[in-house]
Symmetry: D2
Subunit: 341 residues, 4 copies
């Protein structure tokens, strides 16, 4: 049985497990004050090209979205996101739980349009009754998006420009950032992300770590008393080292990008095979999640031998499913899958 | 330099790291549906003597307290705790963040008195204005307590009886439960805890795991849609396996209790040495946290060679500090410390 | 200068002021336990045809929506509303403030379609990942809607049927209910509303009272400890009598419906005048809010002599505005306005 | 039957009802933008001696405490109050509902001691682990206190000095402020309150209004977007005029203080009568709430003819009860009560 269900089906990259074993008995302070977190923060700052960046380690994606958004919004503000944004759809109301509305915009293959954002904010402030409404307080995008698509540098710059003009912090959910950064053809670098956003995170859980996300606040932008608010959200790890060791490893010798390349290489081969055989894509994207529309009967057959994720019902006889590759995908499994197609 | 700062200074018991390495490439579903979580749940049910217990894995102690209390209280209820309870003092308001008050009772060496609890609840309901006040909705205790003390079986039974009479769920914070269960002289077993509480957790972070707490709801008592509420709190781990593998290991061949015994054995030797030398204890307790009152000058000298935790200022010339042992403490370090005393 | 800005521009119906004066020195208990609240509750139960209905008085509409929705939803649930619902747009995030998402459906002249609701809920529960999403937990409609339109009895019954099938409480925002109940041609009575919803309110603020909304929970459906939760929301009035006296008056000799008829009579005359003169309506409705599209130049002229509410920009040269009538509108003012058209 | 149950048993001072009748048909904008609110704000600024003060009208005391505290605290902060503070005990957890802890200090006849406050804050910041705890973020006092006692000017100045030094806003709950300001012997004026606090409110509900509290933020200190946050809390009145007219009346010709004097005059006569007859006071105070300890049998007899409030059980045979006077108390009722003593 082959599995292309998601990019978090295995444990961690072996170099990470090695590092956990190697550092295991070193006694360190808790709560992120350890030597590993310190070193990882330094390496991440270097990779981002911003020596003034604040870096904080959290455990998972929804937690990170919740803590970042809640601590950066004023009480009367909401976060603007695409209607397909993870925070809008698949986090069980974690943002609303903290008292904030998710204000949604249309999506274009998962992406937000800078002009539509500008119109939305301008219309809001032009409304004479806007003080009876939720203020747009920050902007959430994901890169890669929930559809696996990527912003171009020009698109990011346009969003940045609108956000800066309206003084809205721009937040990038980078749960799969590694895959986005190494995709052939992208013109967006980690330095660009650092320059153009006000906060973003470098996803670990889905890019080779056991767990963990590195939140980066460029230009010393971390909210005051952030650690206390993380604690208040129940999100502060006693053994901060557990994430510190992992990111220290991922940002040593460019492991983070090199293992992401494996996912993209596997996806590219698989994507070409689907295309050659005339399969229909729900949305075309260049990253590690391939969204294919299958006739239901064909899907049932395929699922005898391959595990995939249900994505959405397309019509009564067709279903969209996701084939995900990861840092751990073996090319031989890709080839075995192609064999079956 | 010796360190007795706390019981989470190292990584994890080597058997846990071995298990993470061994299982690393096994592909499993996310969010706790993996084979390791399933197996760990089964082993924990067996150890608890309750085949109907629900078991859920979370990442840390404050998170667990927050999620459990918030999901088990009605909106108009608060949680009753000792004034020294972790939830009352050292969680940055994580309970209040969820909208609930912590109603405090006096502590007796860190413990709640069943009679005082009964009086408190009876007085509340006798007050003609109690519908303008926060209803007591559940009871929080820790075992070992924040002072390292332990409830006796009789004390737990008395609390259980009061709680049952007033229909208040009894919640035990077991962040250090392992140490409490193996302390010589205790008459409280894991089966007793299961029988006498409505929810408790088996601490992993401080008892040999990288991270993780196993929340047990005896008698199928988990709130409906608990997973969704965990997700809503940002507390659901995508790679649930990371905690599953660890608890599966801890509950294989009684690893959990056997490694806890090391901490207690080390603490007993150290405690006897303090007593022999006439040191004063802030509170006497039988577990792995020794609270000693030191003259400030003496403390300063000692801290040249041993790292300890500040506990509280006793008076202008004395300070209470904590010496903690753990699953990882080496008896040779204990002996080296005794040498210094 | 004429004013058709809204239906809360004046104080209260004179009979209400008379009653406040008449009862002023009668000493009564606080918090809704007074004789006036008791009497008003009884009269409302009678008017609703449900002797078992629970009735609770609150101060305003947003407060009522917030308190009712928050106390009737489980923590993991959201409220389903039209995208134009007051709770979705114009309450500054009061629902999200309580931790709940507003799940939106398309609107049809301000109304929710029962079939679309059914599809939405069915799709939700059919989604294999729905436990990572916000559960639909109740349904919010307004009657009259935000566009002044009315549900037919058949439409309400269809919504009721869908809600009952999915066990979703149906909540009707009746901030302007009085106007809806007396509109010629409506086939919906107060008894119907009582029979078909699980909670609704009879608006006072916009129908002749100084302030106040009467929340009705048919069939003894008020949540347990509702008063305590109202207090917790800061919404419990010490002098509950202030609202009690007003509703007692409004439900004596059918004052509530008789004064609402004035608004509708005035609106009908005005609406006919607009139609005769060929004005365009943004949405056609039969109640007390007339939404007219005006050429901007014409609007500017008109505003020299009549105050109206901005509704929305239609295009670069046209604007929709609202002319509202109320219990207090004088027919002579309507005639003066028609003169100007 | 006589009633001394509380100071909100009647409706409103007749001058207020007259004003409501007189202004009833004047058409005004909603949400506090009306001419009455504007005029009332101006008069209150004048009475406070601060032309820069922001003034906002809300409906009731708990609501005001909740909105003010929630909007002035940072998310990681709590409010410091006496253990007997209304916010700590009798608001059903309204503060915690907004996510903030109430940090309690001992009370001294209901009052907070400036030195104890200073110690508390100093100890907090000296604690090396304070970033795991709730930060003190503002200070709540009531004047008169819950025991009817009053701060002296020196005590208020001391609290002000401590608060200013630690940059903690000082908030005075003035639900009964009118009674406190006219008590013979007090050296605290409204100008003093304005000068020494950062926010306070002038209670209307308990001092002659139907409902309403005037929140004053001296020195333009109202939080940005306060109206939106009030709306978000469900606390914004559509007919803001209803409170505006009342405060405009109360601050015309010093009505507010003159009607408060009636309560104090009645209380003084009654208090002297209790003292003469050797009754024991639970707490001695100079304002309009007299707390008397009665033998239970005596209380039962008295309650045949006088309604009073239960305050607390003193011992098995004695109970403390409250006799409250108000703007509406008639001296002849006081004399009738004295007759019974």
């Amino acid at each position: 049985m082959l599995s292309f269900v998601n990019d978090y089906s295995e444990g961690a990259h072996p170099a990470i497990l090695d590092a956990l074993v190697r550092t295991n008995y070193q006694q360190e302070p808790g709560y992120g004050d350890d030597a590993f977190c310190t070193s990882a923060r330094e390496k991440i700052r270097l990779a981002c090209g911003d020596p003034t960046a604040d870096v904080f380690f959290l455990a998972g994606g929804t937690q990170t979205n919740q803590v970042v958004i809640d601590t950066m919004l004023a009480p009367y503000e909401g976060v603007v996101a695409c209607e397909t944004g993870h925070v809008a759809q698949h986090e069980a109301g974690a943002i609303e739980y903290t008292g904030h509305k998710v204000l949604t915009l249309p999506q274009h293959e998962g992406k937000m349009c800078a002009r539509e954002l500008d119109d939305f904010v301008a219309t809001f402030f032009a409304d004479g009754n806007h003080d009876h409404m939720v203020f747009p307080g920050m902007v959430y995008i994901s890169h890669p998006t929930e559809y696996g698509t990527l912003y171009t540098l020009a698109e990011l710059e346009a969003l940045h420009e609108v956000c800066a003009r309206w003084k809205l912090p721009l937040f990038m959910d980078g749960a799969r950032l590694g895959y986005g950064l190494v995709t052939p053809g992208t013109d967006v670098t980690l330095e660009d992300v650092t320059r153009l956003t006000d906060v973003f995170y470098i996803g670990g859980t889905k890019v080779g770590a056991l767990l963990g996300e590195a939140v980066v606040f460029p230009r010393s932008g971390m909210p005051a008393h952030f650690l206390t608010m993380v604690k208040q959200h129940g999100a502060l790890l006693a053994k901060g080292r557990v994430v510190g060791v992992q990111f220290d490893t991922l940002f040593t010798d460019e492991l983070y990008t090199s293992i992401a390349r494996n996912a993209i290489a596997c996806a590219d081969v698989l994507r070409a095979a689907f295309a050659e055989r005339g399969y229909t894509f729900l949305v075309e994207n260049p990253t590690n999640q391939i969204l294919v529309v299958l006739e239901n009967q064909r899907l049932a057959e395929l699922e005898q031998q391959v595990a995939v994720s249900f994505w959405e019902k397309v019509d009564d006889t067709h279903t969209a499913v996701r084939f995900a590759t990861s840092w751990a995908t073996k090319m031989e499994d890709v080839e075995a899958l192609i064999e079956l197609l």
